[in-house]
């Protein structure tokens, strides 16, 4: 897969998904609340996405929609997506949704992500290039990783431009040349 080495992708797959086991699994201590080492059919367990995905391919579990896409979040996004604190739901909201959407029998996740991103993008846009005090904006704390990526790209390029405009020495002296050499007399 193209994203095998991508750190963001790896951390995205760490998000928990609740699954229902279709087959009994013996000798695994996945469910911490059960007394035995095995998992019964029909029991509901929280697994990380990478594990749930593999088990689903083997038809051992069936995935439910994760908690971050529940009805409460959807209503908040429909009301005013720019203010919803997506980072507290999951810092990888969009990536996780993109991964989950083909696997769970829920076709509304895709449009939900798209509409949320569209309206939040406008907010990011207006604040990205021109914010004077990046730390002062509490808007930053509610952005997911992807949106923060976008924001920082704009910030850094604007900062570089401003630094250039200030002027200053165009050549930098290498630090190793800073020390004076004693003249040999």
């Amino acid at each position: 897969m193209a994203n095998y080495y991508d750190i963001d992708d790896i951390i995205t797959q760490e998000e928990f998904v609740s699954v229902i086991f279709q087959k009994a699994a013996g000798g695994v201590g996945i469910d911490p609340s059960s007394e035995t080492d095995s998992v019964e059919v029909g029991s509901k367990v929280e697994l990380p996405f990478w594990l749930a995905h593999e088990l689903q391919l083997r038809q051992a579990v069936s995935m439910n929609v994760p908690a971050c896409f529940n009805q409460k979040t959807r209503l908040e996004i429909q009301a005013d997506s720019a203010c919803v604190d997506l980072r507290s739901r999951s810092p990888y909201f969009y990536e996780f949704g993109c991964k989950i959407a083909p696997l769970v029998a829920d076709r509304t996740i895709g449009p939900l992500l798209l509409s949320a991103f569209k309206s939040r993008y406008k907010e990011v846009l207006t604040k990205a290039h021109t914010a004077a005090y990046p730390a002062a904006s509490k808007h930053l704390t509610i952005l997911t990783k992807e949106e923060t990526h976008l924001y920082e790209a704009a910030q850094s390029s604007m900062a570089a431009f401003k630094k250039w405009r200030m002027g200053g020495p165009r050549f930098q002296r290498a630090s190793i040349l800073g020390r004076k050499r004693k003249s040999n007399e």
Partner: protein, 197 residues
């Protein structure tokens, strides 16, 4: 060079854009006796170097007069979508001339403030244009943008377009508006298996 610090950005640094801008031709009036003509068209880097050694004075380019710039500023303020025709490297050229040839420009403070205003207005227009990006956008076309302005928004636009493209993939969006051939899906309440990655 480009993309040095962050491989994802593929960005020219501002200094690099300025370096490219120094190839533009300007006219100088040499102090010393030189071979051919009185007014010579030389590249900007040569003009700045001669100016630093006190061997010439630089004639400001034609677009850099108070009247012309005021005209451009009025036109920029009038329209919301259209950008005025300005030299591709006007930001860099104006900065270099302000730094090195300040006494050669008549009304230098006025010219400087006009250029700054023009830059501000244009940049706000760029941001307004960017709001029109939606999921159907595969590319964005803005006319008459200058090199430095393009360089500033380049990483942002690139990532925004990528993000929109990713969210608009056919897997995610159910197929009401699309004209693609879909195989008839059997309604299946159990977990689906997607073999295509």
């Amino acid at each position: 060079m480009a993309g040095q610090s962050d491989p994802n950005l593929s960005l020219f640094s501002a200094e690099e854009v300025e370096f490219i801008a120094e190839d533009e031709m300007v006219e100088i009036v040499p102090n010393l006796r030189m071979d051919a003509l009185n007014f010579i068209c030389v590249p900007l880097w040569l003009a700045v170097a001669l100016k630093k050694r006190g061997k010439c004075t630089i004639r400001p380019p034609l677009w850099m007069s108070v009247e012309k710039l005021t005209q451009v500023l009025e036109a920029e303020r009038d329209s919301q979508r259209v950008f005025e025709q300005l030299p591709f490297h006007y930001v860099e050229i104006s900065r270099l001339l302000f730094d090195h040839a300040r006494d050669d420009i008549p009304d230098v403070y006025m010219v400087r403030s006009l250029v700054e205003d023009i830059r501000d207005v244009r940049f706000h227009k760029v941001e307004t244009n960017l709001e029109t990006l939606n999921e159907r956008a595969l590319a964005l076309k803005i006319n008459n943008l200058s090199a430095m302005e393009v360089n500033i928004v380049r990483p942002f636009i690139g990532r925004a377009l990528q993000a929109f493209y990713k969210h608009d993939s056919p897997e995610l969006i159910p197929d009401q508006e699309r004209i693609s051939d879909r195989r008839p899906q059997v309604a299946n309440n159990a977990a689906r298996r997607h073999l295509r990655r």
